[in-house]
Amino acid sequence: MKFRAKIVDTACLNHFTRVSSMIAKLAKTCTLRISPDKLNFVLSDKVANGGVSMWCELEQENFFSEFQMEGVSAENNEIYLELTSENLSRALKTAQNARTLKIKLTNKHFPCLTVSIELQLSVSSSSRVVTHDIPVKVIPRKLWKDLQEPTIPDADVSIYLPVLKTMKSVVEKMKNISNHLIIEANLNGELNLKIETELVCVTTHFKDLGNPPLASENASQDRNSEQMAEVHIDIRKLLQFLAGQQVNPTKATCIS
């Protein structure tokens, strides 16, 4: 098993750093899946019990100038590693003014992801090298099936979210009043965030959000576009997701 990659572009490096910070905020431990053209961050938890599961995919060539990997075997050309997400995020944060960043899978008495950063802080300073050895656990093949891309079930309604920052500040205020949030959305681009308690009921309405084209046309034809689909979710989990967002998405979709 081998892995070796290099980033030389500052913008790519910053973007990668932001992605890893976002992952660090969402999950303490996560799985990194390395395949020939993608890098995935996966967190799978018992969704049935209200756990959070996450799947993040990066096209390798958008970030790395060099990328070589050799998986477990020829038929299974992938590597699954478990690591503490904060370690990766912290290591990348030290690469603020880096000339190059290299990531390698190494074995220093235990398997590590070694992040090696070359810094040149000013013309007069010497070139500095910062190395971080992040301990990882290699995940055996038999557990790979639990870490596959989740299938998104057929949705009743799919809607583009409003600016996440706005949504975050609304939800944050609501968290003090109730533990559960009701999200209602319809195919008319309307989204409501609602909390209900014995004493008070607060709703925030968003209008004119777009709806992504639905996969199955049959479902949408039957549905009244004004009719709201609703879900109840745990406010803290939603807030954790919103708080972690550092990468400005072009689209954020909510599906229910």
């Binding site: 081998k2 370690n87 290591a91 500095r128 290699v138 055996p140």
Partner: protein, 395 residues
């Protein structure tokens, strides 16, 4: 005793007190002919810090009023720090600071003369004490490193603020290497991330040490002096010797100098004692947190001399005006004749039993600088054998 500090020096004094507060809980204040000395030591005596402000630092400096005995006093660090707590406030509003000793009411009076006619007077109670002096001499240390504070600040920047200990040494190509030091816990399934920073020789104003030498010391305590040096824009020199011997961190300029003496981890390896006959006796029993079991083999250590691992301290009443840098004294440990089996009798385990936060407990020292890490006794845990191998070397 009466000292008057004015202008921007007030903030400098405040910053020094902040630095000292990172080390100990009590401040020893002693007006000397050479200047005002502020000293502290941590409770386990593994760190000592001292700032000496020359008479020129003050607008007015009076060591003792005629007829008054020379004063040495000990104040609670918290009390003294509270006067200088807000550095921003000191800079913006304080015009003068007057420190005087009021014999009659036995209070140390710190008076801040601020803008707009505001005057803040702090009456701090103190205790008479003996003079606190550590016995150390930078000139005796064979290895020296000197760099502008900025370089060292950049050097420690990649390390997490919570990191307790760091190893500093000279690696291949005369590069200065700082590496996070992790205690080896055999039962810990979660290994910690290891960070290493390597800086070229050219960033240092002085580098007098061979490749392979290294010491491990408490980073948190070092940061105290480093932040002062950075704000005063001074160079910091590090004088060190073999592992186990205290390392001396020094800054100086025309108006003040500062010394932090920190104990370093001693080398605990399996070589027979004869190879290190000249070395100071090893540190005794490790002070580990209660839940982990000590796994060091204490039978290897013949010495249990409590003083040897502490920075040698002298508390003498009679040392008039002498600075804490006597030129010839050595650490007591070294003065004992080195027989082939140093200190064969074992003294009782009369150690301070409690764990002291911020004090590095003695642990195995790993020789890192040529890429070898002394193998931990255990193999990595996991359901399958480790398949990862080193990706091919440097491109």
């Amino acid at each position: 005793m009466k000292c008057l500090v004015t202008g921007s020096n007030v903030k400098v004094l405040g910053k020094a007190v902040h630095s000292l507060s990172r080390i100990g809980d009590e401040l020893y204040l002693e007006p000397l002919e050479d200047g005002l000395s502020l000293r502290t030591v941590n409770s386990s005596r593994s760190a000592y810090a001292c700032f000496l402000f020359a008479p020129l630092f003050f607008q007015q400096y009076q060591v003792a009023t005629p007829g008054q005995d020379q004063l040495r006093c000990k104040i609670l660090m918290k009390s003294f720090l509270s006067v200088f707590r807000s550095l921003a406030m000191l800079e913006k509003t304080v015009e003068k600071c007057c420190i005087s000793l009021n014999d009659r009411s036995s209070r140390l009076v710190v008076q801040l003369h601020c803008k707009y006619g505001v005057r803040k007077t702090h009456n701090l109670s103190f205790q008479d004490c003996e003079s606190l002096q550590a016995v150390f001499d930078p000139a005796l240390c064979p290895h020296v490193l000197r760099a502008p504070a900025r370089v060292l600040v950049e050097a420690v920047q990649p390390f997490p603020p919570a990191l307790a200990e760091v190893t500093l040494g000279i690696g291949r190509g005369r590069r200065v290497i700082l590496r996070s030091y992790q205690e080896e816990e055999a039962d810990s399934a979660i290994k910690a991330m290891v960070t290493e920073m390597s800086i070229g020789e050219e960033d240092f104003q002085q580098l007098q040490a061979q490749e392979g030498v290294a010491i491990t010391f408490c980073l948190k305590e070092f940061r105290g002096l480093l932040s002062f040096a950075e704000s005063a824009n001074l160079s910091l020199s590090i004088h060190f010797d073999a592992p186990g011997r205290p390392a001396i961190f020094a800054i100086e300029d025309s108006l003040l100098d500062g010394h932090f003496v920190l104990a370093t981890l001693s080398e605990l390896d399996s070589h027979p004692q004869t190879l290190h006959a000249q070395e100071e006796p090893q540190r005794p029993e490790p002070r580990l947190p209660a839940h982990s079991t000590p796994h060091l083999d204490l039978d290897d250590f013949a010495a249990d001399d409590m003083d040897s691992y502490m920075i040698a301290m002298e508390t003498s009443l009679g040392s008039e005006g002498s600075r804490a840098l006597p030129s010839t004294s050595l650490l007591p440990g070294l003065q004992h004749p080195c027989s082939s089996s140093p200190h064969s009798e074992e003294e009782d385990d009369d150690m301070e039993p409690s764990t002291v936060p911020g004090t590095p407990p003695p642990k195995k020292f790993r020789s890192l600088f040529f890429g070898s890490i002394l193998a931990p006794a255990h193999s990595p845990q996991g359901p399958s054998p480790v398949l990862a191998e080193d990706s091919e070397g440097e491109g």
